[in-house]
C-alpha cells in the first residue's frame, strides 16, 4: 500500500499556479494567432491564387505529418545555428501557432468547402465585393459548422504544450516535474498536474463554446 502525501506537493502551489498561468497564456496567444493563420490558410487553399495555395498546402502537410516536439526542438535548438535565438517562451508560442495554424487551415477549409454555391452567387448578385463575400457571407457560417472541431483542436494544442517544458518553458508540466524531482513525490505531483490540466481543458472548452457564437460568427 502506498502512502500518498499531497501536502508536500500542494505546499508548492505558487509554482503550480505560475505553471498553470503560463499554460493558459501560451494557449490564449497561440489560439488567437493560430486561428487567424488557419483562416488565412483556408482561404488560400480554397479560393486563393495558385502561387499561394501551393506553399500553404506544403506547410499544412509538413506540420501535420511531423511530431510537435520535433517542430519545437527545430525552433529552439535548430534556429540558433542560423543566428535566430528565441527565448523558450517565444519558441513555444511560435511552435504552437504554427502547429495550430496548420490544423485550423484544414478544419476551416472543410467549413468553407461546405458553403452552398447559391449563397455565394446571391451575395455576388447583390454587388458585394469579393472581400465582403468572404468575410460576411461565407466565413461566419463556415466557422459555425466547424467550431466544435476547432475547439477540440485548441484543447489538443493546449495539452500538447506540456512538452514545452522540455525546452525549459515554465508551464504546468514543467512545474509538476520540478516538484517531483525535488520531493520525489512523483505520483502525487502528476496527479495534481493531471487534475489541473483536466480543469483547464473543461474551462477552456466552455469558454470557447460561449465565446465563439458571440465574437466570431453571431448567433
Amino acid at each position: 500500500m502506498i502512502a500518498l502525501d499531497f501536502a508536500s506537493v500542494l505546499a508548492e502551489w505558487p509554482l503550480l499556479a505560475k505553471g498553470a498561468a503560463m499554460t493558459v497564456l501560451l494557449t490564449a496567444v497561440s489560439s488567437v494567432l493560430g486561428l487567424g493563420l488557419g483562416i488565412g490558410g483556408a482561404w488560400a487553399r480554397w479560393q486563393g491564387p495558385r502561387w499561394l495555395a501551393l506553399p500553404v498546402g506544403a506547410y499544412v502537410e509538413a506540420i501535420r505529418n511531423t511530431p510537435f516536439i520535433v517542430q519545437l526542438f527545430f525552433l529552439f535548438f535548430g534556429l540558433p545555428s542560423l543566428g535566430v535565438k528565441l527565448s523558450p517562451e517565444l519558441a513555444s508560442v511560435l511552435a504552437m501557432v504554427i502547429n495550430l495554424g496548420a490544423y485550423a487551415t484544414e478544419l476551416v477549409r472543410a467549413g468553407l468547402t461546405g458553403t452552398p454555391r447559391g449563397q455565394i452567387e446571391a451575395a455576388q448578385s447583390l454587388a458585394l465585393t469579393p472581400r465582403q463575400v468572404f468575410l460576411r457571407v461565407v466565413l461566419p457560417p463556415a466557422l459555425k459548422r466547424v467550431w466544435p472541431s476547432v475547439v477540440s483542436q485548441i484543447i489538443i494544442v493546449m495539452l500538447g504544450s506540456a512538452v514545452c517544458g522540455q525546452i525549459s518553458t515554465q508551464e504546468l508540466s514543467y512545474a509538476s516535474n520540478l516538484i517531483q524531482s525535488r520531493n520525489f513525490r512523483a505520483f502525487e505531483s502528476f496527479i495534481v498536474g493531471t487534475l489541473m490540466y483536466l480543469t483547464l481543458s473543461v474551462a477552456v472548452r466552455h469558454l470557447l463554446h460561449w465565446a465563439g457564437p458571440r465574437l466570431l460568427y453571431g448567433r
Binding site: F76, F77, P80, K85, P88, Q166, I167, S168, Y174, S181
Partner: protein, 263 residues
Amino acid sequence: MTVRRLLAALRLLAAVPLVLAATAHAQNALDDVMAKKTIAIAIPTDFPPYGFVGTDLKPQGLDIDMANYIAAKLGVAAELVPVTSANRVPYLQTRKAQLVISTLGKNAEREKVIDFTNAYSPFFQAVFGPKALAVKSPADLAGKTVGVTRGAMEDLELGKIAPSGVEVRRFEDNNATVAAYVSGQVQLLATGASVAGTVMNKNPQLTTEFKLLLKDSPNFIGVAKGEDKLRLKVNEIIAQAKASGDLDKMAMKWLGRPAGELP
C-alpha cells in the same frame, strides 16, 4: 553517475566469493610487477576527459596520463587495460590488473572488497562557460542564463549558491542541456566534469572552460585487497607528484583547473 553507482553496488554483491579467494595470495603484487617489468593498469575509454579514445584510436585522458606516470615512476612498462565502470573492480579482484585508475570514487561498499590509495584527481560538478564570459564567483552569475539538468546533483548544488537574478533553465536530460548550451540558448552550463569534457572535446570553437565549483568528489586508485606494499608505494608516488605539482599540471591539462586539496 547514479547508474554507475548502482551497477557498482550490484557487482560488488556478485564479487564477494572472489574476495575470499583473493586474500589467499596477498602482498606480492609489487614484487611481481618489478620482476616482470610491467604493470597492468585498468583505464576507462568511455569517460572524457578522464579516459577516451582519440582520433588516432589510442586511449588518452587524465587517467591514462596518471597510469603512464605511475608506471614510469616505478620504472616499469605500463600495460593499459580498457575497462568499463561495471567491470573495473572485478578486473582488480581477479588480478587481471594490478591497479585501477578509472575515475573511481571511494565508498563504504567498495572499501569492503578493494583497497584505495590516496586521491589523485578531482571529479566534480561545476559551472562551465565560454572564455569570453567572466565568472569568478557565484555573484557573477546574476543576470546570466545557466542550463542544468533538472533534478541532477548539480541542479541542487546550483540552487544553494545561485544569487537572485540568475536565470536557471532546467532541461529534461543531459542531452537537452548540452544542446541548449551548444546552440547558445544558455550562456553557462552546470554539469559534471565528464559531460563538460565531452562538450569541450566535440565543440572546441566554444572555448568552454571551468568557471565555478559546485561539488567535489575526488578519484582514488584501486588496488587489490591486502596489497599494502603496492598501495604504499603508489601513495608515495602520489605524494611526490602532489609536492612537485605534477598532479596539478595533469588536472590543468585535462580539466582546466588544478587538482586542489585532495584527501
